[in-house]
């Protein structure tokens, strides 16, 4: 039976993420199949499941970084379907396999990304202060610790104030202060936007109200 997450109250919401019978295979191996959900603003959903159950694969598909084998995944803004090539504008994404540019400083990384996105540089300092990297903004990324790199990934994700925040194991490598930064951001996003966290960590799960458990979805 497919997993179904009920839609939240959609009145007044401007954005909706809807998956119907989402299935992903690698060669003939089915990673997950028939995943269904409908998410609207003010929701926080944890994607859980044992190792290899497809948590990261599902979050990549939602971010339009990977294509599903079958099924449909659509993003709607004010009732209009968002074109696939524009999905990135709505997405903030943090994951262990995302890397920023080692040869640039923390500030330069965010400046480059703002230039590529075509947004201004006005928000960079605020975001760096928020993740606690402002004093180290002029250091090259190659001398950052793994925790600092994780903080910069969070800064990258919130820089353009996206409507959907996708976090894949967001507190990995973070100290207590870093975890508190993630908590603040998660709480802020679940107030009026869509938050999705792929995790098995009890604390990260506690930030979410809904759960998609991939263990309960048929795999072969």
């Amino acid at each position: 039976m497919p997993e179904n997450i009920p839609a939240n109250n959609t009145s007044g919401s401007s954005i909706m993420l809807k998956a119907v019978n989402l299935t992903r295979k690698f060669d003939r191996k089915v990673i997950f199949e028939n995943v269904n959900f409908e998410l609207t603003p003010s929701s926080a959903t944890a994607i859980t499941g044992r190792n290899g159950s497809g948590k990261s694969t599902l979050i990549k598909i939602i971010a339009n970084l990977l294509i599903q084998s079958s099924g449909e995944l659509n993003l709607f803004n004010k009732g209009e379907k968002v074109k696939k090539e524009n999905v990135f504008k709505y997405i903030g994404f943090v994951s262990p396999y995302l890397n920023l540019y080692d040869e640039f400083t923390g500030y330069e990384n965010l400046k480059i990304i703002s230039d590529i996105r075509g947004s201004g540089h006005g928000n960079i300092d605020n975001v760096l202060k928020r993740v606690g990297l402002y004093n180290r903004r002029n250091d090259l990324l190659k001398i950052y610790s793994s925790g600092m790199k994780q903080r910069l990934k969070i800064a990258f994700a919130i820089l353009h104030e996206p409507k959907i925040m996708l976090l894949d194991e967001p507190t990995s490598n973070l100290d207590l202060e870093g975890i508190s930064v993630v908590d603040d951001i998660a709480n802020e996003y679940k107030r009026d936007r869509i938050l999705i966290i792929a995790t098995n960590d009890a604390h990260e799960r506690s930030l979410c109200g809904n759960e998609i458990n991939l263990n309960e979805i048929k795999q072969s």
């Binding site: 970084l65 294509i67 994404f93 396999y97 640039f104 990304i113 075509g118």
Partner: protein, 220 residues
Amino acid sequence: MFKQALAICKKDFNSEIRTRYAVNALLMFIIVVISVIKFSLGEDKLSAEMNAGLLWIIIFFATSNGLSRVFVSEEERGTSLVLKLSSSAGSVFLGKLIFNTLLTFIINFLIIFLYIIITGLDIKNLALFSLTIGLGNLGLSAVMTIIAALISKASSKGTLYPVLSFPLLLPLLLAAISATTLTIEGAPIGAIAGELQMIASYTIVVITASFLLFELVWHD
């Protein structure tokens, strides 16, 4: 789209200046090849056909060494996700194409400059020679850019690059070698108009097809 592409191109230039991924290898290759040619020739002079053939062999292998880096380094370092989450596929391709075209022009200027100094090559129609090399460079960088995107996800990148690009580039190389030979001998525009038309048409077709295909290559 063009503004985003320029931002990506600028990022690649700054990255190249700091990391010298391509430049060091290219410089070594160019110096070694041209030195070997000089030592082999001694004081002998080559025919226009031999000079044109040798020049395009050096250009082909030099660009094979350098141009694949634009996508390969992004995939190897895990930074391609940053681009996927910050801009459309079309902007990424255009940015990489502009960067590769500029890099090809710089490389080829250096190759031709050193080749003329070391071998004493006498070009009778320099304006048409430059036009031929310029058009050839554009076609070469267009093919090399889309092939670089294709091979960046493969495991044996080094071998695949020349193997895949050579058959695609053969029509361009044959026309470019023929036109270069004629310009070295001092032929007027009428004598090489057919070759120039062929190179220009080929380049337009490759760039158009690449824009249509790149979205598929980039997202899976």
